[in-house]
Amino acid sequence: MKKPIITFARWGNYTIAFKTIFEQLGLEVIPPEKTTSQTIAEGAKIAPEMYCFPLKVTLGNYLPALKKGANTIFMVQNVGGSCRQRYYGAIQEKVLKEAGHDINFLDFRATPKDIYSMIKKISGASLLQVLKAGRFFFKKLHLIEKIEKLAQFCRPREIEKGITDKILQESLLKLDELKKEKDFQELKKEILKRFSGIKIEKNKDLPKVGLIGEIYTVCDPTINFEVERKLGLEGIGVYREMDITYHIKKLIFPWKDWIIQRKINPYLKSTVGGHGRDAIYEMLHYIKEDFDGIIHLLPFGCMPEVTIRPILEKIHLESGIPFLSISLDEQTAEAGIDTRLEAFTDVVRNYHQYKSSKL
């Protein structure tokens, strides 16, 4: 057997953390290419036309890595539940093989047992090594999620424009280069110190917008045209609950699902696959928290999100909160999204003023 050179599905800034697992186990990794309009076009060329957008994106990310010599692909199954995500592995393997790539496709279920046996098979590492790599992975993941949240907070309040993004990008780059776990604490301290050094207007009254929708499009700034950053620079506080930790917690502890179901019972009495229920729950939650707008992001034709969209629209009509739903696919142009976001920010600001004038 050839020596495995690994690549995997890209997922926003979290790619850095995923890369760490393989590196720690002594495997050779070629990280997937950053998503650009070119990789999306390449992926869409060989992907099935009707399939949902993330499949095309991740496929486009593999291709340059495969060109550089990767021969093994990691893809996780059933992240979403009843939706099409289950068959990503099967379809991507078929499509890549038909396109003439000689690859070893590792398609595994998202259970600890499956993940462990898969990693064991490919690397031959001991349990202790796998656990250590896992620990490092979670440390990095938490830090990434934390600085994303910090950036969300600082961006609209910063005094020197653009400083938050600069620090965020530099921190992510440093985190990517970090190889040894023992240096982690030091780096974490340094990064957090830099973030706390950003000068902000503390008591600024900001309109708040909640991001809801499909987890992949919400979390990956390269696909959603940096909605978070754009709104932040416009002086709007952006919040989102979706991230990997949220997803993993839901996989391990089922009661989160029960709570969600109880809260959304008047609107939807069943799961619809994916994170359909979560979107409704989050929207209701944001309305309760007195937010000034909701942005719903989904890949074009995403089954769960499309099913629940009429319900979100109904909630929007009942409560009067500004609501914008954006479907993303390979034909979405940035200019179009920008125009819609600009119009939306105006609506959000007006709504915020109207609400505060009533008080």
Binding site: E49, V95, M303, T307
Partner: protein, 299 residues
């Protein structure tokens, strides 16, 4: 009291079963008429633009029934006897229906992973204030009707299989196959072109005693009921010496995006010509006709 049943989508999974059940419980049942232009237009107007075409048609039927009946029956189908799931878009139908119409919606969760069908039907009957005996009788008659239909279908299909004409197999979901308006009368058109049309839905599953060995397809294990069903039926149909296969799918059907890849592969491996047709509210009859003629010429 009258109960309305939209003649679309899930109705075609078990045609005549629900009418028989409710009629024998002593209710008047109104079925929406076969799909026509107004119904499609009504549905398209209210539906989410990105949902699948079959769903849009369903909303049209639902709106047609509004005001004409006391209850509209919209079951929440979740899992079948084999514990396989239905399309996730079915899960939300009653809730979305509630938003669209003012007529109350009669619904029950059909999830055989948790509860047998008989028990669910009992609960459904209970909602309509019927006692155990009545429900049992109605249920029995409905099952009988369903069985009768299946038997009839079986005989027809065995005749078709022996036919000397060119045999074309149509692959799709029942709600695309049996609804003539939606599939633009593909069956009629093919028959005019001299072909014998077999629906994948009609093909009886082989019992295990039979001696003919089916070709095993290398498909992933589907958690969707139709995925497994279509796989087994295609394995069966490859024995029938068919000359061509056509898959029909409605625009934005998420499940078909997965299935198509494997269906196409199965027929290509066996060197059987394959045509993929996509239907939506804008599909024109002339376009389909041309493609079908061209396809028949290649065979």
């Amino acid at each position: 009291m009258t109960i309305g049943i939209p003649r679309a989508l899930i109705y075609w999974k078990q045609p005549q079963f629900w009418e028989t059940f409710f009629e024998n419980l002593g209710f008047k049942v109104i079925l929406s008429p076969p799909t026509n232009k107004e119904i499609v237009e009504m549905g398209v107007k209210v539906a989410d633009p990105e949902t699948c075409f079959s769903n849009k048609v369903y909303w049209g039927h639902l709106l047609w029934l509004e005001g004409k009946v006391d209850y509209i029956f919209v079951p929440r189908l979740k899992a079948n006897q084999e514990k396989l799931e239905y399309c996730p878009k079915f899960f939300g139908l009653p809730d979305l229906g509630k938003i669209l119409t003012k007529t109350p919606i009669l619904t029950e969760i059909f999830d055989e992973r948790k509860e047998k069908l008989e028990k669910t039907l009992k609960r459904l009957g209970g909602k309509l204030n019927k006692n155990k005996e009545e429900i049992k009788k109605a249920r029995g008659l409905a099952f009988l009707k369903e069985k009768e239909l299946k038997e009839k279908e079986k005989q027809e299909v065995s005749l078709k299989i022996q036919s000397k004409k060119q045999k074309i197999v149509l692959i799709s979901h029942p709600y695309n196959l049996y609804d003539d308006y939606i599939n633009l009368r593909v069956k009629e058109k093919l028959e005019k072109l001299g072909a014998e049309v077999i629906f994948i839905e009609e093909i009886p599953l082989q019992n295990q005693k039979s001696k003919i060995k089916n070709q095993k397809l290398d498909w992933p294990k589907f958690h969707w009921e139709f995925g497994k069903e279509i796989k087994e039926k295609i394995e069966q149909v490859l024995n029938y010496n068919i000359t061509g296969a056509i898959e029909i799918s409605s625009f934005q059907c998420g499940c078909d995006a997965v299935l198509k890849e494997f269906v196409e592969k199965a027929f290509k491996q066996n060197k059987i010509p394959f045509l993929y047709l996509m239907i939506d509210e804008q599909t024109g009859e002339a376009g389909i006709q041309t493609r079908l003629e061209a396809f028949m010429d290649t065979i």
